[in-house]
């Protein structure tokens, strides 16, 4: 079978699997239909892209269609192949995880078929977005992914909160869609074609023709990838969705936004310098704000959601650096910037999915993801704890795990002193300082999330009690994740470690895509591996040293045990432990202007207070709050304005308005 035929066969296979997942009787058969079809499709896609990842030229199939499409170009280049290479396998792992995660719902009589079919549809969307170079089909894939994700998010649709989160997501993603349609229409009106190659030829020939175009594309892709300040839908959607859906959205589906950004960077040819600076600063802002919000969240899944905003920000910093290198004709900088961005995109998919899966296992065992109520889960969920610990450390970019290498490439670019002016160099160093800040805050929130949920003693006795009951019912297996959930988690955690210790594997995946960007210069992706080699060996040596030290530490048998030293106080209870809010209190006080906090308190009154007093603090999203404020005020403004319109002479008013509009049109039409 030829490579292109294999790719095209993947689509009907996925659709058939989705159809079977809805139509077959029995939950098990439905899951198997979805999972098997995805496995076959993954195999087919890999069959078709394997030569591309080896450096072969782009695949191309052109279908002629009746008007208004005329022709659809299936053109998979190395960039699309890079995204396809991991998007489908990770979706397959998510589907397998879903079988375990949804088991309690399915046992209660919910029909899982449509859910599995939607997961198949997501894979279809990936194939469309990453392999088709036609604006219309791209939009179809884009919309397919958006709607499928929305339907996946509202799995728990009985809850008002979940429905609101889903609606919020739906509106945001469609605002992005409209903007994208506008951008494509502009290009279509100029080129008379829907083909990306035509778009690219036009953009390269007229670099400054469509000034607003970068803005339109920027907004559309930023909304998709949840950049600050377009991220408001994200924390709600991630908190409301089932764990595997959050994982796939954050790790895989919304990488389509970054793909779009990279695709149009590639089509546009040599970019102007300001574009590079804008993307770099935008990415830095996204990373900085995103990470500050992770430090303050008490909902584990919201925390992980904000961390996606942070990580796409880091990837965008890489893209901005690459664009700067491109406009300065500095091949090394191009390789470091785009290479760092691509590596980070891939590594983020690996560790973020595993983190959401672990959060799902926590939810399954305790029915909450509120950090203030959790604690001591490492004893109850040892497997989940190991996965969460490893991947959380990877999330904060610490060596020797996989999150480090992408960031190291970015630092290399930012410190390289490659800018044509010293001022430029200094700004790049400041961006490196922002990246260092992001790394440190993300280490804080990783330690906080793991420490609060898994270490110490259980904070809420009611959770511990319900767990004991559930464990009794479940039998000896306890309440740790079952095999269908544990296997995908373990695979992710293992790959996080392996790619941390042996990043050449990831570099090999990135290299062909990087070659597209660096084709114009002598320094390609292969040079990256050589530049990185000493750092990689340092990571390996560190991993070895850590493994030896860890083995020695755990082997020591002789020990005694006792209670935790309470500094002389002997009446300590688990409720007195440091909480998630107190852990980040100092940091959030320092950054209060961007981290607004809502405090609800009922203080004790009188000498002998009778009513229970309480204090609750909640970090709300500053952007979303402001957005709703403006929307709310806007509603008020319209209401006031409509009240001010005189009631009686309605006809005169309307006539006047129409006359005004006509006059305005004449004035505008006659002007230019």
């Amino acid at each position: 079978m030829s490579s292109s035929a294999a790719l095209l066969t993947a689509l009907p296979v996925l659709l058939l699997g989705g159809g079977l997942a809805i139509g077959l009787p029995g939950g098990r058969a439905r899951f198997l239909a979805a999972a098997l079809s995805q496995a076959v499709a993954t195999g087919l896609v890999w069959l078709s892209i394997a030569p591309l990842l080896g450096g072969a030229p782009a695949l191309e199939v052109i279908w002629t269609w009746p008007a208004p499409i005329f022709q659809i170009a299936f053109r998979v280049d190395a960039l699309g192949a890079f995204f396809l290479a991991w998007s489908l396998p990770l979706t397959l792992l998510g589907t397998i995880y879903a079988a375990g995660y949804l088991r309690p719902y399915l046992a209660a009589g919910r029909d899982g078929g449509p859910h599995f079919a939607l997961l198949n549809l997501t894979s279809v969307a990936f194939v469309l977005i990453y392999s088709v170079q036609n604006a219309l089909v791209f939009l179809v894939g884009w919309e397919l992914a958006a709607v499928a994700a929305w339907l996946l998010v509202i799995w728990d649709y009985q809850s008002q909160r979940v429905r609101f989160a889903g609606f919020n997501y739906l509106v945001s993603t469609h605002v992005g869609l409209f903007v994208l349609v506008a951008a494509f229409m502009l290009l279509h009106s100029e080129t008379g074609s829907m083909d990306f190659a035509e778009f690219g030829a036009y953009l390269r020939a007229h670099p400054t023709a469509l000034g607003g175009l970068p803005l339109l594309f920027g907004v559309a892709f930023a909304l998709k990838a949840a950049f600050f300040p377009f991220h408001t839908w994200l924390p709600r959607a991630h908190a409301a969705a089932p764990a595997h859906v959050s994982a796939l959205m954050s790790g895989v589906i919304h990488k389509a936004g970054l793909f779009g950004l990279l695709r149009f960077c590639l089509l546009g040819g040599t970019p102007p310098q300001w574009l590079g600076w804008c993307v770099l600063l935008f990415g830095a802002a996204s990373a900085g704000f995103g990470v500050l919000y992770t430090a303050a969240q008490r909902d584990l899944k919201r925390l992980l959601g904000y961390s996606s905003t942070e990580n796409v920000g880091i990837a965008a910093m890489g893209i901005g650096l690459g664009l700067l290198g491109w406009s300065w004709h500095h091949p090394t900088l191009i390789a470091l910037g785009f290479g760092g961005a691509l590596l980070h995109i891939f590594n983020h998919a690996l560790f973020k999915c595993a983190l959401f899966y672990a959060a799902g296992a926590v939810f399954r065992a305790t029915h909450t993801v509120d950090l203030e109520r959790l604690g001591g889960l490492a004893r109850r969920l040892p497997r989940t704890a190991i996965v969460f610990a490893v991947t959380a450390l990877a999330m904060s970019g610490l060596p020797p795990l996989n999150g480090f290498i992408g960031e190291l490439l970015l630092y290399m670019g930012l410190f390289s002193g490659a800018a044509p002016s010293s001022e430029g160099d200094v700004v790049l160093v400041c961006a490196a300082a922002v990246l260092a800040f992001v790394g440190a805050v993300s280490a804080l929130s990783a330690a906080r999330a793991f420490g609060m949920a898994f270490l110490g003693a259980p904070r809420d006795p009611s959770i511990a009690a319900s767990a004991a009951g559930a464990a009794g019912a479940a039998g000896a297996a306890g309440d740790d994740a079952p095999a269908t959930m544990a296997a995908p988690m373990a695979l992710h955690a293992i790959s996080v470690v392996v790619l941390g210790v042996w990043p050449e594997l990831a570099l090999r995946l990135v290299e062909p895509a990087l070659a597209l960007f660096t084709a114009r210069g002598p320094s390609g992706g292969a040079a990256l591996a050589a530049t990185l080699a000493p750092a990689l060996w340092a990571c390996r040596a560190l991993a070895l040293a850590l493994a030896i030290a860890g083995a020695l530490a755990l082997r020591r048998r002789a020990r005694r045990s006792g209670p935790t030293w309470g500094c002389g106080y002997v009446g300590a209870t688990p409720r007195m432990q440091y909480t998630a809010a107190s852990f980040s209190a100092q940091l959030s006080r320092l950054f209060r202007p961007v981290l607004p906090v809502l405090t609800r308190e009922q203080l004790p009154r009188g000498t002998f207070p009778r009513d229970a007093s309480r204090l609750g603090s909640h970090h709300v999203d500053a952007v979303e709050r402001r957005l709703f404020e403006v929307l709310g005020q806007g509603e008020g403004f319209v209401r006031d304005a409509s009240e001010r319109i005189p009631e009686q002479p309605r006809f005169a008013f309307a006539a006047g308005l129409i006359a005004l509009v006509i006059l305005a049109l004449i004035a505008l039409g006659g002007g230019p």
Binding site: S422, V426, C430, A549, G566, A572
Partner: protein, 320 residues
């Protein structure tokens, strides 16, 4: 080979010697005789032979944390010039690796502290993590300023962006001295935090409420405590060595007798200065510590501005 061995010997000696020197100075200043100079070595040997006590609440994380911290401290020490010449290992941009490995050690200690479920240790862990957040940008601003300065062609070594190359700038002109001074100030603040010294933390205090590093190791005992104390001493030796290299006018990639002697002398002098400052200064109020740390960031910004001034002196040509 000889140089690597010499680096190792210097690391071991400075690690065991510097805390003793600081303590001795403080004791003399207070009119006491003080413990032996090599007290740390005796302490480590005694602790290593003990049987550790673990809290019932803890998990294996608690047992792993001290050794992760120790490995991280040693891994970063391997990159630092211990004799103002080439270190054990170095590669381009190893200072990023250095900072992140220090971060790994910090996260390990924070997790170990949180594992005990003690609110005091949680407090210390939160402080350590927050202070780290404020310090990391300063470290990178300084590294960036020095890196660009070396890039302008003022490095003692021909090329390279390794930590050692950054610490050997050739000082030319007034702006360069400002840059160099700002970097020294920022690095001293970094050491004060990372090695848990005054004025950020009083290692001899008995009030858990005001501790940062000390309270995080409250529950560790026996060999685990030894590992943590050793890690702290290694970090102090690394930090002092880094500052000494930056101060050392004979620092060069090729070892010279003057460079090595000056380095050892500077290390001892820095330890004496630390002891003196700890005798004379009081701890900064805990609420003021973030402000003190931001000082390091400001020093980093000043270093960058000085760099701009320097490149303007060179004719605004920027990077060659």
């Amino acid at each position: 080979m000889t140089l690597a061995l010499a680096n190792l010997v210097a690391l071991a000696t400075l690690t065991l010697l510097l805390p003793g020197l600081v303590t001795r100075v403080k004791a003399r200043w207070a009119g006491r005789r003080g413990p032996p100079i090599w007290q740390l070595a005796y302490d480590l040997r005694r602790l290593w032979a003990k049987v550790p006590v673990y809290s019932d609440v803890t998990t294996p994380v608690f047992r792993l944390a001290p050794y992760v911290a120790l490995v991280a401290a040693l891994a970063s020490a391997a990159l630092a010039p211990m004799l103002s010449t080439a270190p054990l290992a170095s590669f381009d941009y190893d200072f990023v690796w250095f900072a992140y490995v220090w971060g790994l050690g910090r996260v390990a200690m924070v997790l170990g502290a949180l594992d005990t479920g003690s609110s005091f240790e949680g407090m210390g862990a939160a402080r350590a993590a927050t202070f780290g957040v404020l310090l990391e940008p300063a470290l990178f601003l300084v590294a960036g300023a020095l890196s660009l300065y070396v890039h302008l062609g003022h490095g003692a070594t021909a090329a390279g962006h390794s930590l050692t190359a950054l610490l050997m700038p050739r000082l030319q002109g007034g702006a360069a001295v400002t840059l160099w001074l700002a970097c020294v100030i920022a690095l001293v603040i970094v050491i004060q935090l990372e090695a848990a010294r005054l004025p950020i933390e009083d290692p001899t205090t008995h009030l858990e409420l005001t501790m940062v590093h000390e309270v995080m190791i409250l529950d560790h005992s026996g060999p685990d405590l030894a590992a943590l104390q050793l890690a702290g001493a290694v970090k102090l030796a690394t930090g002092v060595s880094i500052v000494a290299t930056l101060l050392n006018p004979w620092a060069a990639a090729r070892p010279s007798a003057a460079g090595v002697l000056a380095h050892l002398g500077l290390c001892v002098a820095l330890a004496l200065a630390l002891g003196l400052s700890e005798s004379l200064l009081a701890r900064v109020r805990l609420r003021a510590v973030p402000a003190y740390l931001v000082l390091a960031g400001i020093a980093g910004v000043v270093a960058l501005l000085a760099l701009l001034a320097r490149s303007a002196q060179l004719g605004g040509g920027g990077a060659p």
